[in-house]
């Protein structure tokens, strides 16, 4: 296969851009979920926004961003509130409460989706689960030189623009409320005594997660959203103890996973003699898993090897003087 510059710019650049933005946005928020031990809330919300998306879509009959985003945000908040209600009112264990609420909401979404499909609409399970990264086209550029033309940039695909706006918004919110998010994540009781409502920031974070889910689901699908909410932040968490560093590392991981996974899926098969490209969103999730395993093994301080070496050093010390090279 020969890759022309025009193909690359029209097909691959927007997809990689969308992938990176989706990964970065989710990774940013994921840092706080992982610290709060609520990474499964991300999972729950990614499932639970489905009925909201479909309802927003069915009620307006179009794939316009605003109603879908509004529906998803609504559904995300409803899910977060319902989980809390089932947990408190019903005295159900948190894991089960999440499982009950998100599976019921997801089922509702699936049934609604069949209704949408019945009315001949291009919205189906595949799109929501796996995303349509390959379908994001940027028709304007024709070569490297055309990138200097501002009208080419104005023709950026809608998915990428949406993702960019949502990512920028999430980044702005995190930057603005960094101190509050940090303190409510590490010590909710202290936050409450200082007059910072831990509950408010819990629901605020859940709202941002719902927004990120819906912006990203169109490009990369809901399953990859879950992976990106959890994995980059986990990788970063194994590498550092400082939150600010952790956030930066997680964005770096997202940069490696998003475009990297895309390249592997789109071009990888040809390198080993295949004839068709593979699903990019799935490849990104797989790549993120591989990176996580590598990190678990070789992280400098919290990795398996480092810990084992440390343990061995402690074990050797009380024995006799080691001979030769110590």
């Amino acid at each position: 296969m020969t890759l022309t510059v025009q193909d690359f710019l029209q097909l691959d650049v927007p997809a990689m851009l969308a992938a990176f933005l989706a990964c970065a946005c989710c990774a940013l928020l994921g840092n706080f979920l992982v610290l709060r031990r609520q990474s499964l809330m991300g999972d729950a919300i990614a499932h639970a926004v489905l009925p909201g998306i479909i309802l927003g879509f069915l009620l307006t009959g179009s794939r316009a961003v605003v109603p879908i985003l509004a529906g998803a945000l609504g559904a995300g908040i409803v899910a977060a509130v319902l989980i809390e209600l089932v947990r408190r009112l019903g005295r159900v264990e948190p894991g089960a409460a999440m499982g009950v609420v998100f599976s019921i909401m997801f089922a509702l979404g699936v049934v609604l989706m069949e209704q949408a499909a019945a009315s001949a609409v291009d919205l189906d399970a595949d799109c929501i689960l796996y995303g349509q990264l390959e379908d994001i086209l940027w028709l304007a550029p024709t070569g490297w030189s055309s990138l200097l033309d501002p009208t080419v940039w104005a023709d950026m695909p809608r998915e990428v623009v949406t993702l960019f706006v949502v990512t920028a918004f999430c980044a702005a919110m995190v930057a603005m409320f960094y101190k509050e998010l940090k303190i409510t994540s590490f010590d909710p009781d202290l936050a409450t005594t200082l007059g910072i409502s831990a509950k408010l920031f819990h629901y605020g974070l859940m709202t941002l997660v719902a927004a990120a889910c819906v912006a990203a689901f169109e490009a990369v699908g809901s399953i990859l959203v879950i992976a990106m909410l959890i994995v980059p932040a986990s990788i970063a968490r194994l590498l550092t103890d400082r939150l600010a560093v952790q956030i930066r590392l997680s964005i770096l991981a997202a940069l490696a996973i998003g475009p990297g996974g895309y390249v592997l899926a789109a071009f990888g098969p040809f390198w080993i003699g295949g004839t068709d490209s593979l699903n990019a969103a799935g490849m990104m999730a797989t790549l993120s898993g591989v990176l996580l395993v590598v990190t678990i093994l070789i992280a400098p301080r919290y990795g398996m090897l480092a810990r084992r070496r440390h343990a061995r050093r402690l074990w050797v010390q009380p024995a006799e003087e080691p001979e030769g090279s110590a």
Binding site: D43, V110, Q115, S119, L129, T275, A285, A299
Partner: protein, 467 residues
């Protein structure tokens, strides 16, 4: 784009009643009947196994497990196609699903054991990464030249209508085995759910029993995949037992109820799927069990929300009522009111004696009048005989407890009123008799018909504050 996509334009052709009845009574042909029975058996098994998964707090681990089956299914399909057999054979796919599901669970345990990441992260990682890998393999299968992969799609959202008769029988058969195994191991499972340490001390093979339990979850999950779909099978495992938990505190009853709820969801869900072939079965099953869950959460008499609120309201009313009775008694005792002939006390005096909400007290007094504890005379109230008896009893209980606290718990008389306010409502006659015995030992046995002295000075009527 087609603009006529509002909800109103979407409608299903309802099947005629006799067809609905035929499906529900298993008379719509051998094939349909075996699918319905198979799904129902699966629901029963899932409910029973799920009860233990829930009690072991493994609800979301089963979710990771079910998502992790996808790459196994795809691998099994690819391998089967490569060696030339048809990839659509259910036993082969189920075997692949079981293997990768187990690998997924082991991987989650590996993450928790070997890094500082916690269980929630491990579950999320397994769920998304394995599913992602499965999606990659699916996209590879789609490009394979060997032909139909249409069946694999049903593993994600579930489609009982796509089940062949032999598949349904296989599913039902395995579910029946899982059900029998759970019944046989009931005692062991109960033991490790409630007191793992005790089981260990008693030399039970705890980790092996645990492994068996997890195996049963795996079995139910993978055989149910084609009917319910791997995204929603977790609901089949956790919703029925969570709903059953509202009705009872007994494990046996909970297991039976969970089995019944699961069976009902499977039965109704697969019937609906037979009648409306477009509806995804898994989603319908989950919505049926979701409805059961909502009803249980609110209406169950045991731990249901409505019963709970009612119980609380009733308790608070009774406490308030008893406080009125004691205030009344003490107003007479302190000598502020001596007219036992009419024995009337103005409402204002009660209001000043204790910190009531004016309108709340009004409602309360009317309720007590209805119950025959007192009579209302304009702005005055008078106790009936029954009310006096009650007032005597509750005041006496209050004072006995105060005395007990001063003699046995070494509390200063000024400190005993508060605790007695709370305890007076819940002391049973048996406990009161016991209290009297204990007071007798220190020479303070109260006479049955006499009121003990208050341990602390009572407030003057009119001053308002209670001590």
């Amino acid at each position: 784009m087609n603009t006529a996509t509002s909800l109103a334009t979407v409608s299903y052709d309802w099947p005629p009643l006799h067809e609905v009845l035929a499906v529900l009574t298993l008379n719509a042909g051998y094939n349909a009947a075996s699918v319905v029975v198979g799904t129902m058996l699966l629901g029963i098994a899932a409910g029973m196994v799920g009860t233990f998964a829930l009690l072991r707090k493994r609800a979301l681990m089963s979710d990771a497990l079910s998502h992790a089956t996808l790459p196994g299914i795809c691998m099994a399909f690819i391998v089967a196609a490569a060696i030339g057999t048809t990839g659509r054979s259910l036993p082969v796919l189920i075997a692949g699903a079981a293997v990768s599901g187990i690998v997924g669970v082991l991987f989650a345990q590996f993450i928790v054991a070997n890094s500082r990441l916690r269980q929630d992260v491990a579950i999320g990682v397994v769920l998304s990464v394995f599913f992602g890998l499965g999606v990659v393999l699916l996209s590879y299968i789609q490009t394979m030249q060997t032909g139909s992969q249409g069946g694999l799609h049903h593993f994600i959202l579930g489609q009982t209508a796509a089940l062949k008769r032999s598949d349904a029988l296989l599913m039902g058969g395995i579910a029946l085995l899982a059900l029998l195994a759970t019944t046989a191991l009931f005692k062991e499972f109960r033991l490790i759910c409630f007191d793992e340490d005790f089981a260990r001390v008693q030399d039970w093979p705890v980790s092996r029993i645990d492994l068996l339990m997890m195996t049963l979850v795996v079995v139910v999950t993978v055989v149910g995949l084609q009917a319910v779909g791997l995204l929603l099978i977790v609901a089949f495992v956790i919703i029925p037992p969570t709903a059953a938990r509202f009705w009872t505190d007994r494990l046996g009853a909970m297991t039976l109820l969970a089995a019944a709820f699961g069976g009902l969801s499977g039965y109704l869900g697969s019937s609906a799927s037979a009648l409306f072939p477009d509806l995804p079965t898994g989603a319908v099953i989950v919505l049926v069990s979701g409805a059961i869950f909502v009803v249980s959460m609110f209406l169950a008499p045991g731990r249901g929300v409505v019963a709970d609120v009612l119980r609380r309201v009733r308790m608070r009313t009774r406490m308030a009522q008893e406080h009125v009775l004691r205030s009344y008694f003490e107003l007479f005792e302190t000598g502020h009111y001596r007219d036992w002939r009419t024995s009337r006390v103005p409402r204002e005096a009660l209001l000043l004696y204790r910190d009531w909400h004016r309108r709340g007290l009004g409602l309360l007094l009317r309720l007590m009048a209805l119950r025959g504890l007192l009579t209302l005379h304009g702005d005055e109230v008078a106790l009936t005989d029954k009310g006096r008896e009650e007032a005597f009893r509750i005041t006496r209980t209050h004072r006995l407890w105060e005395q007990y606290l001063t003699t046995h718990a070494d509390l200063a008389p000024a400190q005993v009123h508060g605790p007695a306010e709370l305890v007076e409502h819940v002391l049973t006659p048996q406990m009161i008799a016991d209290l009297e015995e204990r007071l007798a030992v220190v020479g303070r046995r109260p006479r049955a018909d006499a009121m003990p002295q208050s341990a602390h000075p009572l407030p003057d009527a009119g001053e308002g504050a209670t001590p």
